[in-house]
Symmetry: C2
Subunit: 441 residues, 2 copies
């Protein structure tokens, strides 16, 4: 519901959600379709969908004029039936639809969010797309991303590689944001030397909310995929809090860093690969992008018996034994600081050393990362780090914990344990940055 004042005005003019309205501010007229009020925010801000597909929010002030122009049927407004006509001369882009907020709408009745039944509906919302690429939509699944497992990663990897092998110059995968960075890491490893861009995108706010990022993210991602030149798996979402550009972030260096903000995805221990603008302008960081000449190779095996655990004050080292007994093949520890865990001899119940040693001896590959996220782990600076290294735990350089987890599952699925342990420290998909010498400050 909008504010009482606005609802009174709407009632008087018989304006309903979905109607076309004209709003006059400072003698300037704005026309568009009245959208429902976002579930939070100032109830005096009117959300209008403009003809260019964007939503804007306009604060209503006394004396401003709102007029009804024409009535829309809610169903048509929600699910437009027209087909998009695309010029054949444009590059082919495969749009793989998996679900998530970008494919969701607010249910006007309950206020909850529901998923679109047909992914094509997404395209109808963004008429600009027909001028960018020849888009072929494939509906892989309709799931929230927290429900995605390695089995869905395998489907996406295969379908993306198939598309690139079938004349698509690039691939856009619409995906929920919760675990998008786990998927982007998985695809980075599963698809070696991608023939074209594989662009994951989504929305933090559904497409019928005034502040939705769905349209711009989809447009920028399609622009990027349609060029075909950046041969990387990555995430393309809002680069800043406002609508100026999207950031394309390497799939093995991205992390969701905010629960609700539109610029939630950040490049960690890495620069962004490119800034992408809705008009198709792309500013590429040529030094960051990997040049590919070798053949694309698909390897989709994955060992799901790998766990991601944390060490912290009073944490229980026996968790390692728990996973070992369950037949787990690998563990990634999110340690503290440079990659530490409690090893104090005065608190035996919290000393991780013996558990680590036993875990490694039982045959698990154990990797150490840092819950600081930014920066590199280093087991050589302090005595505690050296003790941990002596147990056989592998220090995972500047890999994000989540990426090290996905990588270890990938390696154990496709290689022997010995090779997996060795390859954990080899840069495969840009997930490890070479050590840089830093100056005295």
């Amino acid at each position: 519901m909008y504010s009482e004042q606005l609802e009174t005005i709407f009632k008087k003019q018989k304006i309903e959600i979905g109607d076309r309205i004209k709003f006059t501010v400072n003698k300037k007229e704005i026309e568009g379709v009245l959208m429902p009020r976002p579930d939070s925010g100032n109830p005096n801000i009117i959300v209008v969908k403009l003809d260019n597909g964007y939503n804007i929010g306009l604060e209503y002030k006394d004396g401003q004029i709102i007029e009804k122009l024409s009535q829309h049927k809610k169903e048509e407004f929600l699910f437009p039936k027209s087909k998009i006509e695309t010029a054949n001369s444009l590059n082919k882009v495969a749009l793989l639809y998996t679900g998530g907020t970008i494919g969701s709408k607010i249910d006007y009745m309950t206020g909850g969010v529901y998923m679109l039944t047909k992914p094509e509906e997404l395209l109808h919302e963004v008429p600009e797309l027909k001028n960018i690429a020849n888009i072929e939509v494939e509906h892989l699944m309709s799931v929230a991303s927290e429900d995605i497992s390695y089995k869905e990663w395998q489907i996406m990897a295969k379908k993306a590689a198939d598309a690139l092998n079938n004349n698509a110059v690039g691939v856009v995968i619409t995906h929920g944001t919760d675990t998008m960075h786990y998927t982007s890491a998985a695809l980075s490893f599963m698809i070696e030397n991608p023939k074209g861009p594989i662009v994951l995108t989504g929305a933090q706010r559904s497409s019928d909310r005034g502040s939705s990022d769905a349209f711009m993210n989809l447009i920028c991602s399609t622009q990027l995929a349609s060029k075909g030149n950046i041969k990387e798996v990555g995430i393309c979402m809002h680069g800043t809090h406002s609508d100026n550009y999207c950031s394309f972030i390497r799939g093995s260096k991205a992390r969701k860093m905010h629960t609700s903000s539109r610029d939630a995805f950040k490049a960690i221990n890495s620069r962004e690969l490119a800034k992408v603008y809705t008009d198709g302008k792309i500013e590429i960081d040529e030094n960051a992008v990997i040049k590919r000449s070798e053949k694309m190779v698909l390897k989709t095996e994955f060992e799901p018996k790998v766990a991601l655990i944390m060490s912290y004050p009073n944490s229980d080292p026996q968790i390692i034994e728990y996973y070992s007994k369950k037949g787990y093949k690998g563990l990634i520890i999110e340690g503290t600081g440079l990659g530490h865990a409690p090893v104090s001899t005065s608190h035996k119940e919290y000393n991780w050393l013996e558990a680590m040693k036993n875990g490694v001896e039982s045959g698990m590959v154990i990797g150490m990362t840092s819950q600081c996220l930014n920066g590199r782990v280093n087991g050589n600076v302090y005595r505690n780090g050296r003790l941990i290294q002596e147990t056989g735990v592998v220090y995972c350089e500047d890999m994000l914990p989540e990426v090290a987890y996905v990588k270890l599952g990938f390696l154990l699925g496709n290689h022997s344990k010995k090779d997996a342990k060795r390859l954990l420290l080899k840069n495969i998909a840009g997930e490890i940055t070479e050590k840089t010498d830093f100056e005295v400050q």
Copy 2:
């Protein structure tokens, strides 16, 4: 070792580490004590400790002049014997020493880091301190912070409260950085309505490295504690990458966000409480600081049978049962996005719902936070969140996972299970920010 070129110059002039040298750059002379080269960085940068206590790095270029002024005995240089004379008119500040990098030095022989045997040595390194406060040093322990458990939190809480009850206007606690934010959260809860500032500080780089932050952090923390006006538990460390100011961050809103950078500690979901400058200037954010009039209360009980676990793709929900069987009283889940875990009915082995329900029914208090760190969890936006809430899992607002973990241990130690569950969502020490309405963007 410095570069070969520099080592040759040093050898020729019989200059050794610890000697006083003069370095002439552009006709400007710089005098100071030659420090060992940091363990990484440009080997052609000479590190010199100036008479004001600061270290600087100067890049050596051909033709510059380096002269030996006088020889220092290494032992004297490492452990100066002079006593600090302090004016009695200054405010009393208690300095509680616990160890960590701030109390460490590089071992010239091995390149490793070792801890100071006497915390007083720390004071000798920073002559400025005698003009700031009347400092009483208490040596609580000499430990790396990853080895600190709730038992050390209890000691620190008691000693800090004792000091404030014994005429200290403020307390400085020197602490390792790995788990400093866990300790600051614990002290925030254990010391209700602190009578004065309780300032945790440390160093990311030891005091004999050119880029050490030890001195400035110690000076700013002492300045802050000596004023006595900000009655908060917090962390005071470098606010930026350079040496312009330190940030004072609320103890329940701080997190270490970089493994090695000097400005590693960040305020998450919160503004910093104050900017602190070495000269004693303090810019307080008056709206952020809590005004205290009630009596200081110390509650140090803590229930260590609480765990912090993560949910992520392919994650094992049976981990909840593992902790339940071990007699754990509480769990904090680091979920994805707005606070989700896998609940897909098509992947039963990864569905967390039943495990959550059983965990809650077995008597554990289970809280949900987000691995995004920034932002607030919300179980009402999506169906999956509503399903998780129905199991009895408590959505922990904008609390950091680590803070929710420490808070739950504190609550279960001092209250009944029922009260602990209720109080988890009550703001006790600034750990929960009130929900703010955000505008349509």
